[in-house]
Symmetry: C2
Amino acid sequence: MKSKEKKQAATGSERLRIKDKIFQSLRADIISQHLKPGQTVREDELAQKYGISRTPIREMLRRLEQEDLVKIVPNVGVYVSELTPRDIEEVLDLRICLESAAARSAASKITEEQMEQLREIGRQLDVAIEKQDSIISFEADTRLHDLIMVAAGNARARRLLNNLLGQIHRIRFISGHKPGRMNTTIAEHKEIIAALSDHDPDRAEQAMHIHLVKTKELLLPQSDLDAKFESFVRSSFSL
Amino acid sequence: MKSKEKKQAATGSERLRIKDKIFQSLRADIISQHLKPGQTVREDELAQKYGISRTPIREMLRRLEQEDLVKIVPNVGVYVSELTPRDIEEVLDLRICLESAAARSAASKITEEQMEQLREIGRQLDVAIEKQDSIISFEADTRLHDLIMVAAGNARARRLLNNLLGQIHRIRFISGHKPGRMNTTIAEHKEIIAALSDHDPDRAEQAMHIHLVKTKELLLPQSDLDAKFESFVRSSFSL
DNA sequence: GTATAAGGTAATTTATGCAATCTTATCTAA
DNA sequence: TTAGATAAGATTGCATAAATTACCTTATAC
C-alpha cells in the first residue's frame, strides 16, 4: 500500500513534465514536417500513442490551434494546417512588424547587462563565421532575437512572437537550408547589435527591418508574391 | 422519427450558438468589470451558473487566458487578470504597432468597394458630429478600424488585433468616457480616410499612428508612464 | 510559545462512458 | 445510369466520476 502511494506521488510530480513534454513533441512533429500539412490528427490516436486520455490531448490541440499549427473543424476533426505562400507572407510580415518595433524600443531601454549579453552573442557570431558553423549561428540568432524582445520590455509582444516562431521554424523546414546566407545574416546581426550599442532607435529599427525583409525574401520566392501590392510592412526606409 | 431527427438537428445547431453565447457572456462580464480584476473564477461555479458541465467551461477559460483576460495558475485556480498601467501600455503599444502597419498596407491594397464603405463611415462620422452622438461615433470607429485591417490583407494580424480588442475595451471601461474627445477623434479618423483615399502609405501610417498615440495618451495617464524610456513604438514621425 | 509535520478539505486535472454530429457508402427508384 | 435518401461507421463533444494536488488547520514536540 505504502509503495503504491509512493509510486502515485512520483508519477504525480512527473506528470506535469510529461504533459509538457508531450505537447512539445506534438508541436515538434508538426514543425519538422513529420506530420504533413493537411494530415488528419485524431484525438484517440494521440491519446493511445502517448498513453494518456483524450481530455489533455484536446487541450493541447486547442493550444496548437491558437498557434495556427492545426485547424479544428467542429464535429469533424483536426488537421495539420496548410502553409500557402500567402500564409507564409502573413506570418513573416507580422514578424517584421513586431521585431522592428521591438528593436526600436530596445535601443532606448536596453540595460548594460543585456548589452553585455548581446556582445557575447556577437562573439559567438565571430566563432560561427570562423568555423563556418551554421548551428552556432542559428543558436546565436535565436538568442539575439529573443534578447531584443526581452529588452523591448513588452511581454505580450514577446509571447506573440514566440507563437509565431513555431510557424516560422516550420517555414524554414519547408524552404530548406540556403547555404551562403549565413555570412550575410551575421553581418546584418552585427549591424543590429551595433545600433543597439549606440542606443540609436532609428538605426536599430532600420537594421532589424532590413534584416527581416531579406530573410523573408529568402524564405518566400518572389514568384509567389503578389508583386503589384505593397506588403503589410514598408519595404524600404526613408529616415 | 422524422420529427425526432428534426429536433436533434435543431438542438444541435443551437448548441453551438448557446456555447458561443456563454463564452461571450463570460467575456463581457470581464470586460465590463462585472467580474473584478483579481477575482477568483471557479469552474464549478460557472458550470452551475450556466447549467453545463465543467469540460466546455474549461475550454472557454483557456480561450480567455489566451486573450489575457484571465490568468490560470496550474492546479490552483483561475483569476480575472489584473490591468496594471504597464499592462495597459503593452496592449496599446501593440495596437499602435499592428494598426499603423495595417494602415500602410491598406493604402496600397484597398479596393474601390472598400473605399466606398470607408466613405460611408465618413458620412456616419459627420452624422455623429452633427448630433453629437458618441454611440454612432463609436460604432463607426469600430467598423473603420476593422475595415482597415481587412483591407490590409493580413488575416492573422486581424485576429491578433481582435484578441487585443477585448482588453482595449476593458481599458476603456476602466478609464471611463472622456467627453470632448469625440470631435478630435473624428477629425483624426477623417484624416486616415483621406490618406487611404489618396492611396498614400506614408500618410496613412502616420495618420493612424498619431491617432492611436493620442488615444493611448488619453487612456493612460501620463503620470503612470515611465517617462525616461521610449515606448515600444515611435512617438513621433520624421517622414 | 513557536515551529513543524500530519491530516483534512476544496479545488483542479485526468479518465472514461455516452450522446450528438458529420461523412460516406449503399440501396432504391426514376 | 444517376440522383436522392437512408443507414452505418467514425469522430468529436459533453458529462460524470476518480485521482491528484495545493492549501489550511490542528496537534504535537521541542
